[in-house]
């Protein structure tokens, strides 16, 4: 923590970026929205794949479909870092996006009605 500097109360400590991702930032436009649903493919991890503990944790969390935002929240890493890790796992075909919402598709009428009923019943 000694190298941390505080900007102000809204920003957390200033950190060296992306230690987990070995300095890589987002590699490509991955088309992932915060509510895109991710799921592990179930493919065995190739021996040559260099997976960090974070990759493995993430993969385990994706055994059941999970949204990108929930994933980032669970693993407690910043969104940008999780993007890179997810990217790595998708490159290895270990993870797939069930619903990439890069097109920004929004729920249809049927879903909206269910949403409304659900909220009213809260």
């Amino acid at each position: 923590m000694s190298s941390d500097r505080w900007l102000d109360d809204d920003a957390g400590p200033v950190v060296r970026p992306y230690t987990v991702t070995r300095g890589r930032t987002r590699l490509r436009e991955d088309g992932l929205d915060l509510i895109s649903v991710l799921e592990a493919t179930g493919v065995a991890v190739p021996r040559r794949a260099r997976l960090d503990p974070e990759h493995r944790t993430l993969l385990a969390l994706c055994r059941q479909p999970i949204t990108f935002a929930d994933l980032a929240s669970e693993i407690d890493l910043p969104i940008g870092v999780v993007r890179v890790l997810v990217d790595d796992l998708r490159d290895e075909n270990l993870l797939r996006a069930l619903r990439p919402t890069s097109t920004g598709d929004v729920p249809d009428e049927f879903v909206l009605r269910k949403l409304l009923n659900g909220l009213r019943a809260l």
């Binding site: 900007l7 200033v14 300095g23 929004v106 729920p107 949403l115 659900g118």
Partner: protein
């Protein structure tokens, strides 16, 4: 509010859905600084920790020793993030858009795939909401305005607020107190109704 440990919540949702039927929807809670965004997300949903990073320029750090691995330094910013688990494999996510101008870079990412937005406004400082109203108007994102009636502020006539914000008649406007769960709930219902109206009105 109760803090439900997130671990169980996620697994439950996923297990209940059994695969790709999990449907996630997203609503943004926007508005100026200190207008009640965090309060609203907290009163109606299960708040979860979520951080994003902000890349800092040397100047914003105020020191020159900022050579990170790729020459950038970043800081993490906590986001307002909440989820409401509904029946039928449906999960509604709420994201608060950071009020401070320097966090506006996040708005585009947050807006993608959002079904609608709530612009919170403080009766005493309506002008602070102009930016958010403009943003969603320009983007074509369906939105409503929820006016937080802070203590000590007179209850405004909604029509006056509409005029002050130069809102189109089609934009729903509601007076609310988002500290109150029922009030926050009616705000969400109003915005979803609005989105539904727009969807069904389309030819």
């Amino acid at each position: 509010m109760d803090y439900v440990h997130s671990d169980a919540a996620v697994r439950d949702t996923a297990a209940a859905t059994g695969g790709d039927r999990l449907i996630a929807a997203k609503i943004l809670i926007a508005g100026g600084f200190g207008v009640g965004k965090t309060t609203m997300v907290g009163s109606i949903s299960e708040i979860r920790p979520l951080r994003t990073e902000e890349v800092l320029t040397d100047r914003s750090v105020g020191v020159d020793d900022t050579t990170g691995v790729d020459g950038k330094t970043s800081t993490t910013v906590a986001m307002d993030f909440g989820r409401i688990t509904l029946p039928d494999d449906l999960v509604l996510y709420l994201f608060g858009t950071p009020g401070q101008q320097r966090f506006w870079f996040m708005w585009d990412e947050l807006s993608l795939g959002a079904l609608g937005a709530v612009v919170l406004a403080d009766v005493r400082r309506l002008a602070d909401s102009f930016a958010a109203v403009d943003y969603f108007e320009e983007r074509g994102t369906p939105f409503m305005v929820a006016v937080n009636c802070f203590d000590g502020a007179e209850r405004k006539n909604p029509d006056d607020v509409r005029i002050a914000l130069d809102l189109d008649e089609s934009v729903p406007l509601l007076l609310c107190d988002v500290r109150d769960r029922e009030s926050a709930k009616s705000v969400l219902i109003t915005v979803v109704e609005h989105v539904l109206d727009r969807t069904t009105a389309r030819p």
